[in-house]
């Protein structure tokens, strides 16, 4: 089939693809059960691994005896600490914090530091058999005192996790105004609102857990790993380090990935062990994480506390915002390490004008599973602190919360604007978005009925997208490359193949990138195939599809690459037709030269191009254009969110009855995909706000929510209709004008819901400082308010039950 076939879809709209809500190109395959996830790869002959994990939170392994497991012959390999240590090196951390001395994650350590920490691996012919023999490995661990949670880890007599981190402090940094200067401003301010905030640990809970199929071919010394990862290049680098291999001898391939959300961005110890097993055995070894493992041993997100203060003058003008943030690293500083806590400090100010602002971040080691990236990291925690403080200030000082926000929001004429912590916002109209959200709030507010109290609230936030200029990462000494690369190839038959380093994890990037290329080349969408996720063919990408950077950076690169390819195709067509290049137009599958009344097919031009016929340049023959794009600056999306909630005073249940967002992410490539990202993000935010919490037993450190019965995800019954409205301020730094939107949905959602709860039950508003706002937490606050009211200490609250 050639591109000139009419059946390929060349129509009047062909080429105008940016801004169209076309269906996802992979959807027809996925709805027919033709997904190709790791566990779907033909595993005939592969061996199956089970990970042995620590059952204690802190201790020394005194015995690891595989004899009984090996005795029957069912276990083909048992890896224990000795063998692991002999054949591996630690996995390095990428993002450090000043003072940080623990820069790696050890593989064969005889000290265990959290329940669920991998300590060994068993390989057998089937998963069930591997689980059978895993039970026969004798492991003794001498328990040590454990520090579960931030308070325990920071206690004066706390057990120490790492000798190099005294007091369990993994590092400290300050952003923004000097702490002493901030204290002075706060001391002199007419009004200061101060609260202690907390955001719980979250499990990413992708529907597909992690998993990999590793193949080592002894003859060639090459390791090929199919892995459900978000970051194949990073994993390849980490695997090479951990297993002492050359990078070019490791190939990492990502098949379909069933969700990630930041949870599959780095090499995990258990994944390295599976690969080590493949190397040791010279066989294919497969491991699929089960849900219990996922909920207890996969790295988590969030987990921080903050003391924060907002100072205002008599007119409600913000004077200062200060926060002391304490982040729970868990047992190790993994890849992103303290990054999420640092971003909280950097993003604290949001879209408001603060004459003074600053944040001190302290990263703390605890005897629990490490934390790392989770969708919207730092920014969600920052919005929680800031927007709750603003709502509380409005309540305490008697201001309307919307007017207080509008009073302090940065106006469009103030952009670009650099915050006190050094972020430079590029463009947008923040007040316009908030005014629209407030208008929707007025329309959607509903009355309280009986024991059901209702409230609405709106919030404002910004989203760091297109992270990040490589020079900025160098400045912060973060060991990542910020740039992206993308390649457009017009094949011999005129079809188009696109290669990029970003990864499809369900967000629809393969569709949006195809749209960008089809649009710029002027060809129908179904001529374009997007190839992602194989380190053997994909351009190098370190950060891949994290930090709302896929469309901005890979898309930005493709705008340029496809633009160049379009020029080359037109030039080749013109040469073939003997026409001036600017007189040739692409019309469907045909290049036309109206003045010369001549045409040639797109596919014919492609075929001639690959033959080198008519090439203008002997050094540039193959029809490929590759562009590296290192963004000159971060580009910022922004949004205003609104929620309407109902609080049942009898059961303390919070129901989100309505939700709306006004979002500006610049030029949208596919509005339906954009809406899907925003709504999906909002609902993950509702999970943080109301139900999700990765809890550990404070005494033993055992994870308590190890199944979806206890780790509660929102179901459709919990989710209101979410209205998404868009505004468009094109990015000034990204080709195509795109801004990212992968995280904007989740960032303000918990604060928005809490604001609405505060409006519904203002007498407990001061207690709404920690998520999730689960019924018991609301109930405790209501009970306390009722007792105070009955004791005459809180006039006006009354017995709400009538």
């Amino acid at each position: 089939m050639t591109a000139s076939d009419a059946g390929r879809g060349a129509g009047p709209d062909a080429g105008r693809m940016i801004g169209r809500a076309v269906p996802r190109v992979h959807a027809p395959r996925l709805v027919r059960g033709q997904g190709h996830f790791v566990d779907d790869i033909d595993d005939a002959g592969a061996l199956h691994a089970v990970v042995l994990r620590s059952r204690v939170a802190h201790g020394r392994i005194t015995r690891f005896d595989p004899a009984a497991a090996l005795a029957g012959g069912e276990a083909l390999l048992v890896l224990g600490p000795d063998e692991i240590e002999r054949f591996t090196d630690p996995i390095p951390t990428a993002w450090r914090i000043p003072g940080q001395l623990t820069g790696t994650v050890a593989l064969g350590d005889r000290t265990v530091r959290y329940v669920g920490q991998p300590i060994g691996l068993v390989v057998a012919r089937s998963r069930a058999l591997a689980e059978d023999v895993a039970e026969l490995v004798a492991v003794d661990i001498d328990p040590l005192p454990a520090a579960i949670g931030l308070a325990a880890a920071l206690a004066p007599d706390a057990p120490r996790l790492h000798p190099e981190a005294p007091d369990n402090i993994g590092g400290r940094i300050h952003f923004g105004d000097d702490p002493a200067a901030l204290d002075a401003v706060l001391a002199a301010a007419p009004h200061v609102v101060e609260r202690e905030f907390a955001v719980q640990r979250i499990n990413h809970s992708p529907m597909e857990p992690r998993g990999l199929l590793a193949e080592w071919i002894p003859a060639t010394g090459r390791l090929t790993v199919h892995s459900s990862t978000q970051s194949p290049h990073a994993v390849r680098q980490e695997l090479a380090t951990a297993l002492r291999l050359r990078v070019d001898h490791v190939r990492v391939v990502t098949p379909d990935v069933g969700g990630s959300f930041g949870g599959k961005v780095t090499l995990y110890v258990d994944e390295a062990l599976v690969c080590l097993a493949a190397v040791r055995l010279g066989r294919r070894v497969k491991w699929i994480e089960d849900r219990t493992e996922n909920l207890s041993s996969s790295y988590q997100g969030r987990g921080q506390r903050a003391r924060a203060r907002l100072a205002l003058d008599a007119d409600g003008r913000f004077l200062a915002l200060a926060a002391e943030i304490t982040g729970d690293l868990g047992a190790f500083a993994i890849q992103a390490g303290s990054g999420p806590f640092q971003v909280t400090g950097l993003a604290l100010e949001g879209p408001y004008r603060f004459p003074h602002a600053g944040a001190t971040i302290t990263a703390v080691h605890t005897n629990t599973v490490p934390t790392g990236a989770y969708r919207g990291y730092g920014m969600q925690e920052a919005a929680w602190i800031r927007e709750r403080l603003i709502d509380e200030a409005a309540r305490e000082l008697g201001h309307d919360p919307v007017r207080l926000r509008l009073h302090n929001l940065l106006g469009p004429d103030e952009l670009p604007y650099t915050t006190r912590t050094g972020l430079t916002y590029d463009s947008g109209d923040y007040p316009a978005a908030l005014r629209r959200a407030a208008e929707l709030a007025r329309e959607r507010a509903r009355e309280s009925t009986g024991t059901v109290r209702r409230g609405v609230a709106v919030t404002a936030s910004v989203e760091i997208t297109g992270f990040a200029p490589s020079a900025l990462l160098e400045l912060f000494r973060i060991d990542w490359a910020g740039w992206e690369s993308a390649r457009v190839r017009v094949n011999q038959d005129g079809t188009v193949t696109v290669f990029a380093g970003v990864i499809p994890v369900g967000q629809g990037i393969e569709t949006t990138l195809a749209q960008i290329v089809a649009d710029r080349l002027g060809v129908p969408l179904d001529w374009v195939a997007v190839e992602l996720g194989d380190t053997a063919t994909a351009p190098y990408s370190d950060l891949t599809s994290q930090a709302s950077r896929s469309v901005t950076l890979a898309g930005g690169a493709l705008v340029r690459a496809a633009g160049r390819m379009r020029e080359r195709m037109h030039a080749l067509a013109a040469a073939h037709l003997g026409a001036p290049p600017d007189e040739v137009v692409l019309d469907g599958a045909q290049f036309r030269w109206p003045a010369g009344n001549a045409t040639t097919g797109w596919s014919e031009v492609a075929a001639r191009g690959w033959r080198g016929w008519g090439r203008p340049d002997p050094d540039r023959i193959r029809l490929e254009e590759s562009v590296d794009f290192d963004p000159p600056a971060i580009t910022y999306s922004y949004s205003a969110h609104g929620a309407a909630v109902a609080v049942d005073l009898e059961t303390a249940e919070v129901t989100v009855e309505d939700y709306w967002t006004v979002n500006d992410s610049g030029v949208l490539v596919n509005p339906a995909i954009a809406d899907g990202q925003i709504v999906g993000g909002v609902v993950q935010g509702l999970g943080i706000a109301l139900v999700e919490e990765a809890v550990h037993d404070p005494a033993t450190g055992r994870p308590l929510a190890t199944g979806f019965t206890d780790y509660v995800l929102p179901v459709c019954a919990d989710v209101p209709p979410v209205t998404v409205e868009h505004r468009c301020t094109p990015s000034t730094v990204i080709p195509g004008g795109f801004k990212g939107l992968g995280e904007g949905g989740v960032i303000p959602a918990p604060a928005t819901v809490a604001g609405a709860v505060a409006a519904a039950v203002p007498h407990i508003a001061h207690r709404l400082t920690a998520t999730p706002l689960k019924p018991e937490r609301i109930w405790a606050a209501l009970s306390e308010a009722k007792e105070l009211s009955e004791a005459g200490e809180l006039p006006g609250a009354g017995d709400d039950r009538g």
Partner: protein, 289 residues
């Protein structure tokens, strides 16, 4: 995870199943709907030597309505219980309670007998069985006995069923003049477990409660009959409902022993018990008349 090894046996008849259980020795897990047992097998928290599949025992499925009772076979699926016309007319609280369990896909598989024998302290149907004073029919090879629901549940996931017995049927008495209501506060999430639930039955005379039967789930290590609250409720009528319910709820909480766990403290569950009891009572005394 995958289950630890076990032997699968499917019984074709009740007698065959009972013969397999006799004499007791090997650990045998009867498999009904599997919605509670199989997750435990998959997690290796339950490791029977034999899994005895009862799903072919169609003789144990069905609902029979008589003038004095409703007899429900242990292998009746909750979804069938929910939509059984005769049952909906005779004892509507049973289908109403069944409909509060999880969601349709689960109810298509889960059975009444399986739910009762699993004996989750928060299970809805157990509370309703206790409130109604149901009797459970237990068969063993060559014998049968009946056990009142209130005596069947002996602790969390523990019942009076002996290893060689199978629960074959549940008889729900039709008490003349009684009307019932089930109310629950359900945990969020896909599984839809109740935090606290209550089944309240009243017989009214001249607009006032002559007799009450109350049992709750999620407020103790087993479904609990709340006799104190029953006594407190007796004598109250619709007109008095508002002011009096506080005392009745207090009596209920006083008679309960709620657990504290990840999803709620004992105190919180106590307040939820007040809420669901109040709802059920208000419904029965006002809207339901």
């Amino acid at each position: 995870m995958k289950p630890a090894p076990f032997e699968y046996r499917a019984a074709g008849t009740l007698d065959e199943a009972l013969a397999l259980l006799d004499p007791p020795g090997r650990s045998i897990a009867p498999l009904a709907g599997g919605q509670s047992l199989v997750p435990l097998l998959n997690l290796r928290r339950v490791r029977p030597a034999v899994v005895l599949d009862l799903n072919r025992l169609t003789e144990l499925a069905g609902v029979e309505v008589t003038d004095t009772a409703v007899l429900v076979g242990a292998m009746t699926r909750l979804h069938d219980l929910e939509r059984h016309e005769g049952l909906r007319a005779a004892l509507p609280v049973v289908p109403q309670t069944a409909a509060r369990v999880a969601h349709r896909q689960i109810r298509h598989r889960a059975t009444l007998g399986g739910s009762l024998c699993h004996a989750d302290p928060a299970a809805q149907l157990a509370a309703t069985a206790v409130a109604l004073g149901a009797t459970l029919r237990l068969r063993r090879a060559g014998g049968e006995r009946t056990v009142p629901a209130a005596e069947f549940f002996t602790g969390p996931h523990r019942t009076a069923r002996r290893p060689d017995e199978l629960l074959t049927a549940v008889s729900f008495p039709r008490r003349p003049g009684f009307r019932y209501r089930f109310e629950a506060v359900t945990r969020r999430g896909g599984a839809g477990f109740p935090l606290v639930g209550v089944c309240v039955g009243v017989r009214l005379e001249a607009g006032a409660v002559a007799e009450a039967r109350i049992a709750a789930c999620g407020v103790a290590d087993r479904p609990l009959r709340l006799t104190g609250a029953e006594r407190a409720l007796a004598g109250y009528g619709a007109a008095a409902a508002d002011g009096a319910l506080g005392e009745i709820a207090d009596a209920a909480v006083a008679g309960s022993r709620p657990p504290s766990d990840l999803h709620g403290s004992a105190e919180f569950r106590g307040d939820l018990l007040r809420a669901v009891l109040r709802r059920a009572a208000v419904h029965l005394l006002t809207e339901g008349s």
